[in-house]
């Protein structure tokens, strides 16, 4: 390097920025070396002066290090760091003060109220540990304040909010159409569901009918999304328990579904396919064939998963009789979805209060008996099979017709009309710039998401922006029952149970 650099300078002439800069720093380095050595020695002296006497082992090391670095003269950190010692000192004090205040605020948090009853039993035997927020087994940034007695979990407090992005607030600042993409990003494995809940709520306010073909297309995509979400759940849960290969198989099928999403909407995730009044576009040519191939393939794949897991001794021992809570208790906590169905309550909004033409399809609600983790696993596998059946019926019986409502106050006019119709142009302009106006009112639109009841509350004040968007996210509600599920069990089961709750932190924190 030392040989090449001068050559570059000569060749490039007067203003080679890179070369001159490099040269300057090198010169500075060379100048700095002597001063640096002194300064380094001084710092070393200062530190050795302040270090406690017991810490003698640190001194020789430091003394060795400084001559070493300064001798070669290639330590850019030493050169740049020694610029202004007084400023550095001030900053250090600043930091010290900050750290001190931070520590004080940290120490002021009183956990005794949170741990009350448990901690007083026998404080000497209890250990409170913090799990997360960055922990691979928490499926996101979830923090679990866990009180252990040996291996047994005595209490656990979920602490959330690390992924709070204020999507509900953001949506208030967007026109109704433009809020769909942000709303989709709440529960990031169930984007079609988020969009359906939100669009359904707005359609309620608009008193809008969605064409039958659009409803069927919504159902197909919702059920594909449900399979996709359950596949991610299956892969990560098995991974938490120690079965690695199932993850790759589950993600292989997930890829197929994401390809289908990309084929129909252009995006693999957060597709914005469902929109107010219908869906964004009709399915492209060849999509149905691709979907049918997947539908035929999927049941066999599910058989393979079950062959790997359902008779796997380790898997069964980890899943059977762990994390079980009675159905009554779960309902008190407001738990819905596969968790509740695993406990034997056949409650499914697709059957109970059908939306988007779900009453056209023949499917069953898989339910469990004891509500342990194995039932949760079995219910989700069963749900994937039922979803495949629904998709098959929907694509076979897909009606002809438009995929978007004919209401021009909501739907964009067809492209070709813009060239010939003044009114179409005006409406297009108004919709794109201002957006649609929604009559005043409130609505709550619940659907059956992959994790339970996903309800969207929308309040309109008559303008073109929603005055309030709130998601009743099932992950958020279901997490409340977690303490009851794991209390008294082993810490290893705690991990398995958390995985089986299938919490989505994007949905919890929103």
């Amino acid at each position: 390097m030392t040989e090449e650099r001068p050559k570059d300078e000569e060749r490039d002439g007067p203003v080679p920025e890179d070369g001159s800069a490099a040269a300057a720093t090198r010169e500075h380095d060379m100048d700095a070396t002597t001063g640096e050595r002194e300064r380094g020695a001084r710092i070393a002296d200062e530190t050795s002066g302040t270090t406690p006497q017991g810490d003698t082992s640190g001194q020789p090391n430091e003394g060795d290090a400084h001559p070493g670095t300064t001798g070669t003269g290639q330590d850019p950190e030493a050169a740049s760091g020694g610029g202004a010692p007084t400023a550095l000192k001030e900053r250090d004090e600043d930091w010290e003060e900050l750290t001190k205040r931070y520590r004080a605020s940290e120490a002021s948090i009183d956990f005794s109220t949170q741990l009350g009853a448990v901690a007083t039993q026998d404080e000497a035997e209890l250990l409170t540990i913090n799990m997360g927020p960055h922990h691979p087994a928490t499926h996101g940034v979830l923090r679990l304040l866990t009180t252990l007695e040996g291996e047994v979990v005595r209490d656990v407090k979920p602490i959330i909010g690390y992924l709070h992005t204020g999507i509900e607030k953001t949506a208030e600042d967007k026109a109704y159409w433009k809020a769909i993409p942000v709303v989709e990003r709440m529960d990031y494995l169930a984007y079609y569901f988020n969009a359906q809940a939100y669009c359904g709520a707005v359609e309620d306010l608009l008193d809008l009918d969605v064409p039958k073909r659009a409803q069927y297309l919504r159902v197909i995509h919702l059920e594909l999304n449900r399979i996709m979400s359950h596949l991610v759940w299956l892969g990560t849960t098995a991974l938490d328990i120690g079965a690695m290969s199932i993850l790759w198989y589950a993600f292989r099928e997930r890829e197929t579904i994401l390809d289908l999403f990309e084929y129909s909407s252009g995006q693999r995730m957060h597709t914005r396919f469902i929109q107010i009044g219908g869906v964004a576009d009709d399915i492209p040519a060849g999509w149905a064939d691709k979907l049918l191939r997947f539908v035929e393939e999927m049941p066999r794949r599910l058989d393979q998963y079950e062959a790997m897991l359902s008779k796997n001794e380790i898997f069964l021992q980890r899943m059977k009789d762990t994390g079980a809570v009675s159905a009554e208790k779960l309902q008190e906590w407001g738990v819905t979805g596969p968790l509740l169905r695993a406990a034997g309550v056949p409650w499914d909004l697709r059957k109970a209060t059908p939306y988007s033409s779900y009453d056209d399809f023949d499917f069953k609600i898989p339910v469990g008996t004891t509500g342990d983790n194995y039932d949760r696993y079995a219910v989700r596998i069963g749900e994937m099979r039922e979803s495949v059946k629904i998709i098959h019926q929907a694509i076979e019986g897909l009606p002809e017709g438009p995929v978007m409502t004919g209401d021009r106050k909501v739907a964009l006019p067809p492209r070709h009309e813009l060239a010939t119709s003044m009114e179409a142009l005006i409406h297009h302009f108004k919709l794109v710039t201002e957006g649609m106006r929604v009559p005043e009112g409130e609505s709550y639109y619940p659907i059956e998401g992959p994790r339970g009841e996903l309800g969207c509350f929308v309040r309109s004040d008559g303008s073109s922006k929603p005055a309030r968007v709130h998601m009743r996210d099932p992950s958020f509600i279901n997490l409340q029952a977690y303490g009851d599920m794991v209390r008294g069990g082993y810490i290893a089961d705690m991990i398995a149970t958390l995985a089986c709750i299938d919490p989505l932190l994007g949905g919890i924190d929103r």
């Binding site: 600043d94 930091w95 900050l98 605020s105 948090i109 109220t113 949170q114 959330i160 909010g161 709070h164 204020g166 509900e168 607030k169 953001t170 208030e172 600042d173 309620d204 008193d207 309902q331 008190e332 906590w333 407001g334 819905t336 409650w347 109970a352 209060t353 009112g441 409130e442 609505s443 709550y444 639109y445 619940p446 009841e453 309800g455 509350f457 309040r459 005055a467 309030r468 709130h470 009743r472 958020f476 509600i477 997490l479 409340q480 924190d509 929103r510």
Partner: protein, 169 residues
């Protein structure tokens, strides 16, 4: 949804013995809502529980700024047997944002009331653990209020906490 008559019957049941309980009823195509006085919310939900609405599916806050009373707390009730939903709403002013907590009777409200407190500053009296849930514990202000600016708050980079201009005052 209950039809208009059924909704009125529920409102009658809720308001029995106290004329000041039920403030209004709203009936739309897919929504039946009873608005009650804030201090009667616990009794109201108990009456509706007796009528089969045994599940509290959602509790959330709404800000009606600039209307007064400004805040609304919405309770979405569900009946598994009737497969039916009814909404209960209370309104509280900014000067006295207090609602009795329903968490002791409906544990599912716990997180959701905390979220409403966090986002709107409505205090739920009797909640066992009334703290913020999504925002940091030392956060000042309630970001879901309509007069809270979007993107208006300064970013707290590590080290510039002193430069905070006190936007919440």
């Amino acid at each position: 949804m209950p039809d208009v008559e059924a909704l009125e019957r529920l409102a009658q049941l809720v308001g029995r013995g106290d004329d000041s309980t039920v403030l209004a009823t709203v009936h739309r195509s897919r929504r039946a809502e009873i608005q009650v006085a804030a201090d009667r919310i616990r009794e109201t939900l108990e009456v509706l529980r007796g009528e089969g609405y045994t599940h509290l599916m959602s509790v959330h806050g709404v800000d009606y700024y600039p209307e007064e009373p400004r805040f609304g707390i919405v309770y979405e009730l569900l009946s598994y047997e009737e497969q039916d939903r009814v909404t209960v709403k209370v309104r509280v002013p900014l000067s006295d944002p207090h609602v009795p907590s329903v968490t002791p009777a409906w544990p599912t409200a716990s997180f959701q009331e905390r979220e409403a407190f966090d986002m709107f500053g409505v205090v739920f009296d009797g909640h066992p653990d009334m703290r913020r849930i999504l925002m940091p514990e030392d956060y000042i202000g309630h970001p879901q209020r309509r007069d809270f600016p979007i993107g208006g708050e300064p970013v707290l980079f590590t080290g510039n906490e002193q430069q905070n201009p006190g936007w919440w005052k």
